[in-house]
């Protein structure tokens, strides 16, 4: 019972957070100088009179509070508004990009966490040995490098020199399979995924790895680990026990990582020409396409907040010591 009460309260908090977030972003984006029409006015493609006309058409000439009331009203009916840049409903713009981003980021996040936890456990278990020091440094190197740079190196090596993989994009326009395996469904997307996922994993893996390693080192010194050894548990069983008990910090981090994955990774998307949320987000901000910018940030924030909620709820199950009061 206490759990459901706790869950309900946390869910309510989450909902309030999201509403505040929407308000905050609404105000925030409008504090940036210029509006969607100034960007078009830009390099002289739109004369002033036309800009004024555009403002009227798009309702940007109305007082801010009126614009907000309209926006909030539409929001209540699930309408996120119209994109200024694309002149299509925001969801129509955001959905395909979100899907593309998830196609890219799901393997990145899953592999990063699985590899990070596995290697982090392994390194933490080998604490104090030479191999652990080398491993930790090796894991940190790609993290210190810009993903942009890693991407270019991977492209130069595997796409440009060796020609194993395409140079970018998500699909090849007009891909004609030549052999049986190329006819497999998703073959084309899969081969386009390899390099960006590799670049993403190389840079994203280090955090879960180091977190897991640190947590494992702490757990290793717990009394119950000595006791487990005394009970004659095999080394593998001991390591699994340590991993299980060191899992909470990395789980918390993973929630955030998954949440941010909804926002895509701009640089990764630029280097590998992946049509995803990151680029949409950056472009919509620089184009002052408020509705799209708000929606993209909101989706990301909502994912982060919701996943945090889920993790909070899962804590009690993963660690029975935690009680919901």
């Amino acid at each position: 019972m206490a759990f459901w009460l706790f869950a309900a309260r946390r869910a309510a908090h989450t909902a309030v957070t999201l509403v505040l977030l929407l308000l905050f972003m609404y105000v925030l984006f409008r504090l940036v100088p210029g509006d969607p029409t100034t960007i078009m006015l830009g390099t002289g493609e739109l004369p002033l009179e036309a800009q004024q006309r555009l403002r009227e058409l798009w309702g940007l000439d109305r007082p801010q509070w009126q614009q907000f009331v309209t926006y909030a009203g539409n929001l209540l009916t699930g309408d996120l508004g119209m994109s200024f840049y694309f002149r299509r409903p925001v969801l129509e713009i955001v959905w395909p990009m979100l899907l593309n981003t998830l196609v890219l980021m799901t393997p990145v996040v899953v592999i990063s966490i699985v590899l990070g936890v596995t290697l982090g456990t392994w390194l933490g278990w080998r604490r104090g040995e030479r191999i652990e020091e080398i491993g930790a440094i090796l894991a940190l190197i790609p993290r210190a490098l810009p993903v942009f740079w890693i991407g270019i190196v991977l492209l130069a090596l595997f796409a440009y020199e060796l020609r194993w993989f395409p140079i970018g994009g998500m699909r090849q326009a007009f891909f004609f399979p030549e052999t049986w395996y190329q006819e497999l469904p998703f073959f084309d997307i899969a081969r386009h995924l390899v390099l960006p996922v590799a670049a993403g994993v190389l840079t994203s893996m280090a955090d879960p790895l180091m977190i897991q390693r640190t947590a494992l080192i702490e757990v290793k010194h717990e009394d119950f680990m000595v006791h487990a050894r005394a009970r004659g548990l095999s080394e593998g069983a001991q390591r699994r026990l340590a991993r299980r008990n060191a899992f909470l910090p990395v789980l918390t981090y993973s929630a955030i990582m998954v949440g941010f994955a909804f926002g895509g990774q701009v640089l990764l998307e630029v280097v590998f020409n992946w049509p995803g949320m990151g680029r949409l987000m950056v472009n919509s901000v620089s184009q002052r396409d408020y509705p799209v910018a708000q929606a993209t940030f909101f989706f990301m924030a909502a994912a982060v907040v919701t996943l945090n909620l889920l993790v909070d709820l899962a804590y009690g199950w993963l660690d029975p010591r935690i009680r919901h009061e």
């Binding site: 002289g44 006309r53 020409n273 901000v285």
Partner: protein, 569 residues
């Protein structure tokens, strides 16, 4: 109490300070970091500039805005060095295109000077753009491109006169004379006109046609793709561009890449030929009856992509539709054309509001033929038909729409009913936001033509590949340093002239773009546009001595440290 007054408008300053905080916060997301820095830098520069440049005082540090692009950064590295002998110091502030538009054009916050490069959009081929838009005093209003506040009545008169002069020879005279004012008054240091460098795969395609101001890969001028001939069994060409289109509705966007790409589907009434002269396109001919009356004749047997014939009805509908809905993106059309009247099956008489010399190029070359039967059926519940998705664009142009996957590709098929038949069966335009990938794709053979500006280094690398051909095309686009005539010392003509004398345009072009381009003669019209350039003018001679002499004659002096000192009152 007294100190409160010094700050001027405390409320405004608070707001600004707060805005800066917000921008900083946004900057944490990596989104607007440069603009946040720039906003405060510009605010600061504006406050200090007017206070410092007092008579008899050393010239203050000159505020310079520059976009954060590599060529611009290199430009100012050179200029800082070259201008040093005059005893002036520069305070460089980098920004994005975004901050340029919002701060300098919209908010009119140009510091002492700012550099910019203007691309070769097709409408800018007409001299009216670089003269009137940039230097007419009318354009000093907020949002105008005369953001350096140049005002010269004599120039204004010439700029106005050339705009309504329908006789080409007389107009040429006026345009050339107007340019002498720009060179004399130096409101801008026009540097050079950088060549467009494109590349394509010559083993696979031939018949590539470079067009002045367009190169071979840009969609600005549809003629450039018409003669491209496949040399291999694959009959469609893959073209890469840094941009993607945002919409399929031709009435919506004023953005150059999107609007010109859609005009491959929607034929404009006129277009430009290889020498950038205006030629009929959807039209068979036009006839200027008088300065405000133009008769236009549609080509016979024109069909829309859905097979319906195009007639004068559609032409009239197009202009009426634009006038009725006043699409902001097409303002130059509804502001020029008053009415359209059917005079035959294929002929329409256009009444203009005012005489407009750029009419055939910039209005008929920008307006496109819209099928009446489609657009009159657009749902009326939209605020404007420009908001209609137009998912299956039907035009009468040389290319038919097949498919658009946002961020992935736009596929077009040849329209064999067009009067000039494309030799390709189709084109696929691939947006690739990163130059390295674009070059890599061309080198690997994943694309056939690179439709974005290369620099010389990449151009040379590509030209070593035996399959690839690099094509350099002159353009009317330009790099310039705009001077702010609204504040000292750039309001001083002698000071501006002196800067011209220490600016070695040839050397800058060589260093920044390996010489690939045309050096400016000081006027904003490229010498490559022989029709409009004034052969009698030339940029001031490069000479430090001359520059110092000009300054000395105007009463400037130098102090013991070598700093330039303002003339005493």
């Amino acid at each position: 109490m007294g100190s409160r007054n010094e700050s001027g408008r405390p409320a405004t300053r608070d707001l600004r300070a707060r805005r800066r905080e917000v921008l900083k916060f946004l900057g944490a997301f990596g989104l607007t970091a440069p603009s946040a820095a720039l906003v405060s830098a510009i605010d600061g520069a504006l406050q200090s500039a007017s206070a410092q440049a007092a008579a008899g005082q050393p010239v203050p540090r000159l505020g310079v805005y520059l976009p954060n692009w590599p060529d611009q950064v290199e430009l100012w590295r050179q200029l800082s060095r070259e201008w040093q002998p005059l005893g002036i110091e520069l305070d460089l502030q980098q920004g994005t295109l975004d901050t340029f538009v919002s701060q300098i054009v919209a908010e009119q916050k140009l510091p002492h000077m700012g550099s910019m490069s203007w691309g070769g959009a097709p409408d800018r081929l007409d001299p009216d753009y670089f003269l009137s838009e940039m230097f007419h005093s009318r354009r000093t209003a907020r949002g105008g491109l005369n953001f350096g506040f140049y005002r010269n009545e004599a120039f204004d008169r010439l700029a106005d006169a050339q705009r309504s002069e329908m006789d080409p020879a007389k107009r040429q005279q006026l345009v050339r004379e107007a340019q002498t004012h720009i060179v004399e008054d130096s409101p801008s240091i026009v540097l050079f006109h950088r060549d467009i460098i494109h590349a394509y795969n010559k083993r696979r395609f031939s018949g590539v046609k470079p067009i002045l101001g367009n190169g071979i890969g840009f969609p600005y001028m549809p003629l450039s793709y018409m003669d491209i001939t496949p040399l291999t069994p694959r009959k469609f060409m893959r073209l890469t561009s840094i941009y993607d289109i945002a919409s399929l509705n031709p009435f919506l966007t004023p953005e150059i890449y999107n609007s010109t790409t859609l005009r491959l589907i929607y034929a404009t009434f006129t277009t430009r030929d290889e020498k950038a002269d205006v030629m009929p396109w959807a039209l068979e001919r036009w006839n200027i009856v008088n300065p405000t009356t133009v008769d236009i004749t549609l080509r016979g047997n024109t069909k829309f992509h859905d097979g319906r014939p195009a007639t004068a009805q559609d032409v009239k509908f197009t202009f009426d539709f634009i006038n009725k809905h006043r699409f902001p993106a097409l303002s130059r059309i509804y502001e020029t054309v008053e009415s359209a009247e059917i005079t035959g099956d294929l002929t329409v008489r256009l009444k203009l509001r005012t005489a407009s010399a750029p009419f055939t190029a910039n209005v008929l070359g920008y307006a496109f033929l819209a099928p009446k039967h489609i657009w009159e059926a657009v749902p009326s519940n939209l605020a404007t038909p420009a908001d209609w998705p137009n998912d299956k664009p039907i035009g009468s142009g040389p290319w038919k729409y097949v498919e658009w996957r946002k961020g992935e590709y736009l596929q077009l098929a040849a329209n064999q009913d067009f009067f000039m038949k494309p030799k390709l069966e189709g084109m696929v335009v691939l947006p690739v936001p990163q130059m390295e990938s674009m070059v890599g794709m061309l080198e690997r053979g994943d694309s056939d033509m690179l439709g974005w500006n290369l620099d010389m280094t990449l151009g040379e690398r590509i030209s070593r590949n035996p399959e690839l051909e690099v094509v350099r095309t002159p353009t009317h686009g330009q790099h310039e340093v705009r001077l702010n005539l609204g504040m000292a010392p750039t309001d001083n003509k002698a000071f501006r002239r002196a800067l011209q004398h220490v600016t070695d345009r040839k050397k800058l072009l060589d260093i920044i773009f390996s010489g690939a381009g045309v050096v400016s003669n000081g006027a904003p019209i490229t010498p490559a546009l022989e029709n409009w350039a004034n052969p009698a003018i030339s940029a001031p001679e490069v000479s430090v001595d001359k520059a110092r002499a000009v300054l000395r004659d105007a009463g400037f002096t130098w102090n013991a440290q070598g700093r330039l000192v303002m003339p005493s009152a």
